[in-house]
C-alpha cells in the first residue's frame, strides 16, 4: 500500500509538471508556482507540511473535499514597489494552488493547521476505519 501511494503521488507530480510545461496549468498566461510539500503518514494521521515563506498564514485557504486536500494562497509581489531598484529576483510570487490525493480517509472536521517559521503544517487525523489495526494471532 505505501509503495502504491508513493507511485500515485509521483504520478500526480509528473502530471503537474507536464501540465506546467504544456501550459495548461496557466489559463491566463500567469505562471503559477507550487510550493514544496512534505507528506508523512503515521498510524493516526497524515501530516502535510508546505513551504510558505513570506505568506501571512491567515490568508491561506485549506480545504478537504473527499480525499483531496487543497491549499491555496498568494505571495504578494512586492517587486513593483516604488523606490526599489531590483538587482535580482529569484523568489517566486503570485498565487498558487496545490492539491493532493490523501492516502487514507480523514476526519475533515478535525483537521488542524499551524504555521511556524514559514512552514505550514497540516495534521489530518485518519478516520477510524483507515487506522492501522493490529490483529492478534491466537496460538493454541
Amino acid at each position: 500500500m505505501p509503495a502504491a501511494t508513493l507511485a500515485s503521488l509521483r504520478e500526480e507530480m509528473n502530471d503537474l509538471l507536464n501540465r506546467f510545461w504544456t501550459g495548461t496549468a496557466e489559463p491566463f498566461g500567469l505562471a503559477e508556482w507550487s510550493p514544496p510539500l512534505d507528506v508523512a503518514e503515521t498510524d493516526e494521521a497524515i501530516i502535510v507540511d508546505v513551504e510558505v515563506p513570506g505568506i501571512d498564514p491567515a490568508t491561506l485557504d485549506i480545504s478537504v473535499t473527499g480525499d483531496v486536500l487543497t491549499i491555496r494562497g498568494e505571495k504578494h509581489d512586492q517587486t513593483g514597489q516604488e523606490g526599489r531598484n531590483y538587482h535580482r529576483v529569484e523568489r517566486r510570487y503570485g498565487s498558487f494552488t496545490r492539491s493532493l490525493t490523501l492516502p487514507a480517509q480523514v476526519e475533515a472536521d478535525k483537521v488542524d493547521a499551524k504555521a511556524h517559521f514559514g512552514v505550514l503544517s497540516i495534521r489530518l487525523p485518519k478516520k477510524d476505519a483507515a487506522r492501522l489495526r493490529k490483529v492478534e494471532i491466537k496460538a493454541d
Binding site: P36, E51, V52, N85, R88, F117
Partner: protein
C-alpha cells in the same frame, strides 16, 4: 567509554569557504536611496540555525535545516530541501557594516545594509541666474 563532544561542522570551517554540499536559497536583492536589501526564502529555518556574516565586503548567509524534531512517521513525499545552505554576495564598498540589520520573519530573512553617506543620492540644485 566517554562520549566525545561533537563540534558543529560549520564551526570547523574557515569563514568564506562554502560547505561541501549545500542548497541555495532563492534571494531577491534591491536597492533604495538609503539601503541595499537582501531577502531570502528560508522556510523552516530558526534563528539558531542561521548565520549572517560580513567579512571583507562579502556577505555570507549560511546554516543548516535539520530534520524535523519529532518523527513524522513514514515519509510519502519529500520536496523540502534539507541540510546545509549557503549563499555569498560580494558587496560594493562603502557600506556601513556596523549598521547591518538582519531579521527573520515568516521564513524570510531580510538583511538591510545602510548606504554610507557618500553613496546616497544627492540632489543638486540648479541655480537659475
Amino acid at each position: 567509554m566517554t562520549k566525545t563532544n561533537e563540534i558543529p561542522v560549520a564551526a570547523q570551517r574557515r569563514a568564506g569557504e562554502p560547505p561541501e554540499s549545500y542548497f541555495v536559497p532563492a534571494t531577491d536583492i534591491y536597492e533604495t536611496a538609503d539601503e541595499l536589501v537582501i531577502t531570502a526564502d528560508l522556510p523552516g529555518i530558526k534563528p539558531e540555525g542561521l548565520s549572517v556574516t560580513v567579512e571583507d565586503n562579502v556577505l555570507e548567509i549560511r546554516g543548516t535545516l535539520g530534520a524535523k524534531a519529532e518523527s513524522p512517521g513514514e515519509m510519502l513525499l519529500q520536496e523540502f530541501a534539507t541540510g546545509e545552505f549557503y549563499r555569498a554576495f560580494q558587496l560594493p564598498a562603502d557600506f556601513d557594516t556596523d549598521k547591518i540589520q538582519a531579521a527573520l520573519k515568516q521564513g524570510v530573512l531580510t538583511v538591510r545594509l545602510p548606504k554610507s553617506e557618500r553613496l546616497r543620492p544627492r540632489r543638486i540644485e540648479v541655480k537659475i541666474e
